[in-house]
């Protein structure tokens, strides 16, 4: 079976600025595919090319094996949920959802049935005649999705639709969206700059930077095995150190913190250490650990996500360390000195970008 979306050598230039640079990727039927990247990385440009609002400068887009070149947005088998949702304010919920079906000339009675089905599915049964301006943020979100899904598109494109919601609602909608996608099975392409959204919802994430994909992978792999320094830095929380030298089994930061790593390659520039990979008060029996002492500068309490910011004794490097909330660490105060350790496999090194 051919992939539902295939992008080949896609390139988009605005005057002298390259927004999207020679992208190649495929999306399989039923995927929840996220494109994660900082603002200005070209992800919106890419999405708009798939939707048909922008013509690529070079390259092709195939949807279900069909080349989309020259096909206007209103005739593509994809639908889009806009960042600001773009609900039609002069129509009620029902008219909004029915709009696309009306354009296709679906008979009235069928429209009515499909709209009601769809509203029920997104949990808005009975909201038919409500004005969209009377709805809450989450409800508007669902109307926007229903309006697109009712057309049964091959692919649903979502342009940071959770961006405008408050945090709590966003957390809730993340789960809701994931469940909805699982239930209906439509392929979602979701763009966001929020790594948590991408990691929670997707089964595939592409990390985008400067118009190019740095890595396409499952969320787990992306987190565990980031392939580039950018991915390592962008996905998940991490400590970053600049290396003075690497190779021959050791790494040394600029400030002189020496760490052992057998397979360390020469010419590495960056060292990344995730806060949760630092072991506090390690068992003295454990072998192969890089042991060091930290002085606690501050405690950043955030429930299960509490961290401490410590100064590495000797080099003075500052490091964030995850602080498990259990009895063992209850007495920790600022200014305390603690034993800590890192396993060499958790030291991730990358060359300087571009080299």
């Amino acid at each position: 079976m051919s992939p539902i979306l295939e992008v080949k050598h896609l390139k988009k230039m605005f005057k002298n600025f390259t927004a999207v640079d020679d992208l190649n990727f495929t999306v399989e039927e039923g995927d929840f595919f996220s494109i994660l990247g900082p603002s200005g990385c070209g992800k919106t440009t890419m999405l708009r090319m798939i939707a048909g609002f922008l013509e690529p400068t070079e390259g092709e887009i195939y949807i279900r094996g069909e080349n989309m070149a020259g096909i206007p947005p209103n005739r593509r088998p994809v639908n889009m949920v806009f960042q600001n949702l773009a609900l039609f304010p002069m129509m009620n919920v029902e008219r909004n959802v029915a709009f696309g079906l009306e354009q296709r000339g679906v008979p009235k009675s069928e429209i009515k049935k499909r709209v009601n089905d769809m509203l029920e599915r997104v949990g808005l049964a009975g909201y038919n005649t409500k004005k969209v301006t009377q709805l809450s943020g989450g409800q508007r979100q669902r109307v926007a999705i229903a309006r697109s899904l009712v057309l049964e598109p091959s692919i649903l494109l979502l342009d940071e639709p959770l961006g405008a919601l408050d945090r709590k609602l966003r957390e809730h909608m993340k789960i809701e969206l994931k469940l909805l996608q699982k239930e209906i099975g439509t392929t979602f392409i979701y763009i966001t700059h929020d790594q948590s959204e991408a990691l929670v919802m997707s089964n595939k994430v592409a990390v985008m930077n400067h118009g190019d994909f740095e890595q396409i992978d499952t969320p787990q792999n992306l987190y565990k095995n980031p392939r580039t320094a950018f991915v390592a830095g962008f996905v998940g929380e991490t400590n970053r150190f600049e290396l003075a030298q690497s190779g021959h089994g050791t790494l040394e930061t600029r400030s002189g913190w020496k760490l052992a790593k057998k397979d360390a390659k020469t010419g590495m520039h960056w060292l990344f250490i995730r806060p949760e990979s630092v072991i506090l008060l390690p068992d003295p029996q454990m072998k192969d650990l890089n042991r060091f002492r930290v002085t606690i500068k501050t405690i950043l309490f955030d429930g299960a996500n509490t961290k401490i910011s410590g100064i590495v004794e000797g080099s003075g490097d500052e490091i964030l360390i995850h602080l498990p909330q259990n009895a063992k660490f209850e007495g920790i105060r600022e200014g305390d000195r603690l034993e800590a350790a890192i396993h060499p496999r958790d030291l991730r090194c990358y060359p300087k970008e571009g080299s």
């Binding site: 609002f53 806009f82 773009a86 039609f88 709009f99």
Partner: protein
């Protein structure tokens, strides 16, 4: 305590407004209303009479003039809308900010030079020995000058020209708030360009269209100069009729009655227009 303070301040600010309304709008209108119900009897004395109103309905000239005036006012409103809507759309949605600003300035120009000056401008352009006929004859398109001036054509042209600004400003402000993504969303959902215009853009701009249409309609209906100077021998305008009653015939009572009939009938037309387009006055004026 503070609410009393507020009330006092409110009254102090409101008083001049109310006084202004009363002395400059309400009282003169009451005066005219009383005058409109008076007519001279055979001894030359003013007595209560409905004659002024009866004249309007019995003398077909006045009826005819009013219907004509109303018809052309509606026509001018429609033409002005048809011309300025694409223009407002272009200025707000397509043109760059600078070009848009420049075009809006151009639209302001007729208003800037004043109605009389622009009317004379049109006269120079349109008359038989005028610029347009000269060019058309020069390139050999016509052999006899076209009668472009002193007819309904030139009158409508002048009125549309003068009204454009009053239509385009509310349209621009309505369309400016229209999010581009609404248009894209409609397109994404399968709508053609035409459907996007009729189902999204126009309904969205409806309050702006309504307020623009009301202003233009009232303005044209009450205009005097353009019909008089550009209109030619057949283009009697109802305001000219009122003017004639006051100035030429010295019959102020008749003129006052005509004035009130104009007010009443134009109100009815605006009300009907709002009814037919499912718009509300407060919304349109507030837009």
């Amino acid at each position: 305590m503070s609410s009393r303070h507020f009330r006092l301040g409110f009254i102090i600010f409101l008083t001049p407004v109310l006084l202004w309304l009363l002395t400059l709008i309400v009282i003169p209108h009451i005066d005219l209303l009383i005058a409109s119900f008076q007519a001279e009897n055979d001894q030359g004395k003013l007595v209560f009479s409905l004659e002024n109103y009866r004249n309007f309905f019995t003398d077909s000239v006045y009826w005819y003039t009013f219907v004509r005036t109303a018809f052309y006012s509606i026509l001018v409103t429609v033409i002005t809308f048809l011309i300025t809507f694409p223009l407002a759309f272009y200025i707000t949605k397509i043109a760059s900010k600078r070009l848009g600003g420049f075009l809006s300035m151009l639209l302001l120009l007729p208003f800037w030079v004043g109605e009389l000056v622009s009317i004379y401008g049109w006269m120079i352009l349109l008359r038989e020995s005028g610029v347009i006929n000269y060019i058309l004859q020069g390139v050999g398109l016509i052999h006899k000058p076209l009668p472009l001036l002193y007819n309904d054509f030139s009158m409508v042209l002048g009125l549309v020209y003068m009204s454009m600004l009053f239509m385009v400003v509310p349209l621009i402000s309505a369309l400016e708030s229209l999010d581009d993504s609404l248009i894209e969303a409609a397109s994404d959902l399968g709508a053609s360009k035409f459907t996007i215009f009729t189902r999204i853009v126009i309904p969205y701009a409806a309050p702006g269209i309504t307020s623009g249409a009301i202003v233009v309609f009232m303005l044209v209906l009450g205009d005097y100069l353009s019909p008089d100077l550009l209109g030619g021998k057949n283009s009697l305008w109802f305001t000219e009729q009122i003017y004639n009653e006051f100035i030429a015939s010295f019959n102020w009572n008749q003129g006052a009655a005509f004035g009130f009939l104009l007010l009443l009938l134009s109100t009815v037309i605006v009300w009907l227009g709002l009814r037919l387009s499912h718009q509300r006055l407060d919304k349109a004026v507030g837009a």
